[in-house]
Assembly symmetry: C2
Homo-oligomer: 352 residues x 2
């Protein structure tokens, strides 16, 4: 592997693939001229697009395949069939050391299943989780899992807490990120068994992390903690509920600001401020969720994003490589687990 960063791209994943993918690479290449791309997909469709985006063409090596994973494919089917799908080949490139990160806007379940089998989980991690940052009243926070694991036990949640902490420290640049478990109340007696047991483990461990306790749905927007830990069912619904609420409010706000001549003039005067406000919440700015807990860097882009959003997902992958993220998380997990083993011994002693 050369020193030049190589990102492998699933050229056929996403609603507007491959055109959105190719133009997204062009945008990402502009600010990352030192990065090379391996683009997997149907060359009959990709090569003409590359002619239109010379910026992308200059940094792309294409790999032809006509197989691809659709959004309707079951993860198990995508895993067992189509060994030459663009998604699978792009992930293989990371496992083979040809690339240092993979980005796909395709079927989340399939990406998860293939990446887990091909890239394997890090030592001590039983299941990877999807993690992404999002805007809050007090800066960006991280939430995981956003949909990889529909059901999670207490140990999964504890592992998510540790991985989320490492992610927030390295990606958001926080010194000592605080961690909360999403629940229906902040009192210890509320919630299901998984969250109660996970909270107990985190509270009584000597893990070198700052465990805040339980947080509720409204703490997500408040930014009460830096890392929100939850199962993939709840996390997916919470994230999409927040997105849907933001869209609904934007809809009614637009309606209000065009409801009278005075309102229209007011909106015109306030436009620069409103534009900055909109830009802050632009979902493309947060596109690119990491599959956390694998031995390789794998980034999931929203399937419905555009080229600007896809370029951002590529940037997420590149930044993770530049910061040597997977080495950091391996070291941190090792250190945290060593300290945790110290905890166990300690608590055994305390019991005597």
């Amino acid at each position: 592997m050369s020193d030049r960063i190589t990102v492998s791209i699933d050229g056929m994943g996403g609603d507007n693939a491959p055109s959105m993918i190719v133009s997204g690479i062009g945008i990402a290449a502009k600010s990352n001229p030192d990065v090379k791309f391996l683009l997997f997909g149907d060359e009959r469709r990709i090569l003409p697009l590359l002619e239109r985006y010379p910026m992308a063409k200059a940094v792309c090596e294409t790999r032809h395949t006509t197989d691809f994973v659709t959004n309707d494919d079951k993860p198990t089917a995508a895993l067992r069939g189509a060994k030459n799908s663009s998604m699978r080949l792009a992930i293989n490139a990371v496992a083979d050391g040809e690339a240092t990160a993979v980005v796909s806007a395709g079927n989340t379940g399939a990406l998860m299943a293939i990446a887990t089998i091909v890239l394997k989980t890090l030592p001590g991690i039983s299941r990877p989780a999807i993690a992404s940052s999002f805007p809050t009243q007090s800066g960006d926070s991280v939430m995981l899992d956003l949909g990889a694991n529909v059901e999670c036990d207490a140990n999964n949640l504890v592992q998510f807490a540790v991985m989320g902490e490492v992610y927030a420290r390295n990606e958001l640049g926080l010194k000592q990120p605080s961690i909360g478990i999403l629940n229906v109340g902040v009192e210890g007696l509320k919630g299901n068994d998984s969250v109660k047991e996970a909270a107990n483990i985190l509270k009584n461990s000597n893990l070198p992390i700052e465990f805040f306790g339980f947080v509720e749905g409204d703490d997500i927007g408040k930014g009460t903690v830096d890392v929100i830990v939850t199962d993939g069912f709840t996390g997916n619904i919470a994230l999409k509920t927040a997105e849907g609420t933001a869209k609904m409010i934007a809809f009614f706000l637009k309606d209000a600001l065009t409801s009278s001549i005075l309102a229209k003039i007011g909106a015109l005067l306030a436009r620069p401020a409103i534009e900055r406000f909109r830009a802050y919440f632009d979902p493309r700015r947060y596109n690119g969720a990491m599959l956390l807990g694998l031995t390789g860097i794998c980034v999931k882009s929203h399937g419905g994003t555009d080229e600007v959003g896809f370029a951002h997902a590529i940037e997420v992958g590149i930044n993770l490589v530049r910061r040597n993220f997977n080495e950091l998380i391996k070291q941190d997990l090792g250190r945290i687990m060593a300290e945790e083993k110290g905890t166990d011994t300690g608590s055994e002693k305390n019991k005597k």
Copy 2:
């Protein structure tokens, strides 16, 4: 019981009880001069307040008790202990026929536990659910369960669907409300066992309801369906996430509209429009969730609301009484279950 509607009130529940309660009664009494109130709580604190709110005093009969349920009380403790808590006595009044609805802003878990034991569930319903309406891009929708049942099996969800349908028809005035189950994807293979099995039951039944299928988190704000069915863990988190997101956006919008002189002038010109927009999302306008599935009408107010919000929760209770809601739901449930029995026979026949 006279023809005059009597509402029993837990005078000691909520962050600013009893003062918020007494002034809330005053507000509700203004638009409902024919309604009588039974107010349970510490008369040493309530009677001086009634002197300050003559409107409330004129329609209130106080019942003295010094016991009350706190927010830290476990539901089981609240149920077994404090047989004379203001919450319990207020619920008893409905069971005894002294009142036709009860409203409390106190501990949700305790209210749920006591109301279920004292009022009992309707025939065919194994567990009550908390239901409330909320604003969407396409008018109001209903969601349940919002926190009564942390874990739900498929049968619970099916019962919630039936109860939610009746609620939406009678409370939102919809002729044929559509029903969706909240999930992490719309495809049949996604989600946990409970949602998959519930969807199968609803799809294959002859229930006279319009089952849409699965909906995702962003469908809540879109208003894709009129009734959103989910377990109490997910529902509680989704609702609070939506509230938190709305607050966060309001925070940043205010910030944007005061960020420059031009923005301030613009905001001033657009103020009437912005005020209407804010009023539409005022959470007090949606305060008052029904405990659906009990033999009596029981309304839960948000604990942190003010007198305007509490008055709205009272209005919710009064409207449910005026529309004879519990009689309607009993009839509807009976009819729906009779048709569902028809379904079973039908499907048995089909199998042969």
